[in-house]
């Protein structure tokens, strides 16, 4: 056997499963590094430290998620939308962003928020029902959650149009050129607002990366209800590039997102990334997936777990050992305890504050209703 043949035989090949041959992958489900002519360059400079910190992020947000689930079950949260299975899609894309890039999440991007530096209490606060969001998007360039499916795609596009109007694309200055990333799900792709966002973004060359986490389900509906063809191809119809990446492969997600953000920043307009992944849990704690999907499907996706994949890779390459993994788990324990304590301390605001932020400027009705409410409350206190 020639040397070349040996090398070829040893070279791992992507294992794309039902993601199909267009799916970009850099790590197989077994954690083997496969090379890709276009995307290797984006991960070449990642140090072992970087990769370990990727791993840490993955583990911490999975813990965050588990804690959210538990808190809901214990009645401390009203609802919890789990990101289980989508950790790599979220951390990989989130870590690809520069600080001055801007993020428009849906309601499930706890992981992206975390890597942007958001206080993890932020999303707990929302699902606990003490606010409808309540954070300042400018602090971490991470917008408020949007619950109405697809609406944020237009906000992201308009924001990106503003970035361009500011002259912050295509200058070549990395401190200046700015991209916007917009998260949405496979189901959201059907909403008129998402298509309109595609039209506007293409028409105005808006620097926005549409990042679709295709987790195969929109509550009980499989992605085949929304589209006949792979979702990344939707972009074709609007005249901009679309790519499918293995969303359970943090390296590929990181690389592809970096690539697409660069394209957007350069002034070429929008790009669509479809991160092919899977919602391992229920849609939310209010959902019962046994009604509509078979457990064999879930079992199959367990073999593609995003965390195990990176772990195998790190271990195999000698970049991390048991003590590291153990340390991360311990950190996660502490993190979870903190989260839980923080969540329990999130207090409901007094009733009269309801009127404080309906409007930015003075509003006579707010004042009158607040005063009436306080008087009404006082009447009970008097009565007692």
């Amino acid at each position: 056997m020639s040397d070349k043949a040996v090398a070829e035989r040893q070279e791992p090949t992507p294992s794309v499963g039902d993601g199909g041959p267009d799916m970009i992958q850099l790590l197989t489900p077994e954690g083997q590094r496969v090379s890709h002519p276009d995307y290797d360059k984006y991960v070449e400079n990642l140090t072992a430290d970087d990769l370990r910190s990727f791993y840490r992020d993955l583990v911490l947000i999975r813990r965050l998620d588990a804690e959210g689930y538990a808190l809901q079950r214990q009645g401390e949260l009203g609802l919890w939308p789990s990101l289980l299975g989508q950790e790599a899609a979220q951390v990989g894309s989130g870590r690809a962003l520069r600080p001055h890039d801007f993020v428009f999440p849906t309601y499930r991007e706890h992981g992206v928020g975390f890597v942007r530096g958001m206080d993890p209490q932020s999303s707990l606060q929302l699902f606990r029902g003490v606010s409808q969001g309540g954070w300042d998007p400018k602090e971490n360039n991470f917008h408020l959650y949007t619950i109405v499916i697809g609406a944020q795609a237009l906000h992201a596009t308009g924001y990106a149009m503003g970035v361009k109007m500011d002259g912050n694309v295509g200058t070549g200055d990395p401190e200046r050129d700015t991209a916007v990333i917009c998260y949405f799900g496979d189901g959201a792709s059907s909403q008129g607002d998402v298509s309109e966002a595609f039209v506007y973004a293409a028409s105005f060359d808006a620097p926005v990366v549409f990042f679709c986490q295709n987790n195969q389900w929109a509550i009980s509906e499989p992605v085949t209800k929304q589209t006949r063809i792979p979702l990344f191809q939707r972009a074709r119809g609007f005249g901009f590039p679309g790519l499918r990446v293995d969303g359970n492969d943090i390296l590929a997600t990181y690389a592809v997102t970096k690539h697409c953000l660069d394209m957007a920043r350069s002034g070429n307009g929008p790009v669509l990334v479809e991160a092919y992944t899977y919602r391992m849990g229920a849609h939310t704690t209010a959902d019962d997936p046994t009604k509509y999907r078979i457990s064999a499907e879930v079992e199959q996706w367990k073999f593609r777990d995003p965390i195990l994949r990176l772990k195998s890779y790190l271990a195999h390459e000698g970049m991390a050992d048991e003590s590291f993994f153990k340390a991360v788990d311990e950190e996660a324990d502490g993190f979870a305890a903190e989260l839980r304590a923080g969540c329990l301390s999130l207090e409901t605001m007094p009733g009269h504050t309801m009127w404080d932020h309906a409007y930015a400027e003075d509003h006579p009705v707010m004042e009158a209703e607040r005063a009436a409410f306080l008087a009404y409350q006082a009447s009970f206190e008097e009565a007692n």
Partner: protein, 328 residues
């Protein structure tokens, strides 16, 4: 007459089932209404029994649900749309207001649009934003639509069937926090106890009339029971139909009591209570001993769920309204 005990949710299911059995043109369309049976399980079991052509899981797009349903109606079907939550009806607003509501008039009567748009509405279930709204006024203000709200299992069972039989488009509001309330009635009765567009005096009284619809009807009845212990007799009216407004039932009561309290969860400004107040004052000017009192949601976006008790009209706020009416 054999009566059955059934929840409001299951009463809707049974009503739809009857309508589907009776008329093969009745089809359901909405998100997750198939295998899942809808997020509130109102369509549970129907796809299994009637097939995927009659219980249609739609792509995730509400304008699409209503717009394609309208197209089916033009083809001779009687579609029943499910909107998952109140706050998700707005993407379909254009189709509802400019197409569904106006098609019959546009065709000078040549086209009928027999369709129902079901919307679970109201708060009190501890949900995040957009899941607790009361958008009924938008629809009641829109000419060409009929808008109703059920409040109890027996009505739910009948009203959904009547709505499906109606040749005009009907916006059908379901009080989501009452889905699990139970009622006992004859599911196999031959006819509805009353017309779809009739109000119902659910408790007779003499001192103050209290009118509302949907989820607050139960609260009004509780308030009436509490008031009775203090010697005040409330007449409680369940509006049932918001448009057309069964105003005669209200004015007849007000002519007797001289006092009216209107209750709604929606923000007060331009809500149903405003219209009722305006009409009652017009028609009963010399009968009113007090101005019409409105007990309603605040004029702010629906608050976070842990604060919603401050927003929603409860028993105390209704009694406070009654006191205010009696203070004149």
């Amino acid at each position: 007459m054999a009566t059955t005990k059934m929840t409001l949710a299951k009463s809707l299911t049974s009503g739809m089932r009857k309508a589907m059995e009776r008329d093969p043109k009745v089809v359901l369309i909405g998100e997750d209404i198939g295998k899942l049976g809808g997020v509130f399980r109102i369509t549970e079991g129907l796809q299994k029994d009637f097939g995927e052509d009659r219980v249609i899981d739609s792509p995730l797009a509400e304008s699409g649900i209503v717009g394609t349903a309208l197209g089916m109606a033009l083809r001779g079907y009687r579609p029943v749309c499910e909107i998952q939550f109140d706050g998700f009806v707005y993407p379909a607003f254009d189709q509802i207001v400019s197409q569904v509501a106006k098609m019959h008039a546009r065709g000078l009567g040549a086209v009928r649009v027999p369709m129902v748009i079901r919307i679970p509405f109201g708060g009190g279930i501890g949900s995040p934003e957009h899941h607790s709204e009361s958008p009924e006024a938008y629809f009641a203000h829109t000419a060409g639509l009929r808008t109703v709200a059920c409040s109890n299992p027996e009505d739910a069972h009948w009203m959904i069937q009547q709505a499906i039989e109606c040749d005009d488009p009907v916006i059908f509001f379901e009080p989501k926090r009452r889905y699990h309330d139970k009622g006992e009635y004859d599911v196999d009765a031959a006819a509805a106890p009353r017309g779809l567009f009739e109000a119902n005096v659910v408790r007779a009284g003499t001192d103050v009339t209290v009118v509302g619809y949907g989820p607050v009807v139960k609260t009004m009845l509780e308030a009436a029971a509490a008031a009775e212990t203090e010697g005040t007799s409330l007449e409680v009216i369940d509006l049932r139909s918001l448009s057309p407004l069964p105003i005669d039932v209200i004015t007849a009561s007000v002519r007797k009591t001289g006092r009216l309290v209107c209750v709604q969860e929606a923000s007060s400004f331009l809500g149903m209570s405003s219209e009722i107040s305006a009409q009652v004052t017009e028609q009963c000017f010399y009968d009113l001993e007090a101005p019409v009192i409105r007990v309603a949601g605040a004029n702010i976006p629906y608050p976070p769920s842990r604060m919603e008790d401050n927003f929603l009209p409860d028993l105390d706020r209704i009694l406070d309204g009654v006191d205010r009416a009696l203070a004149y």
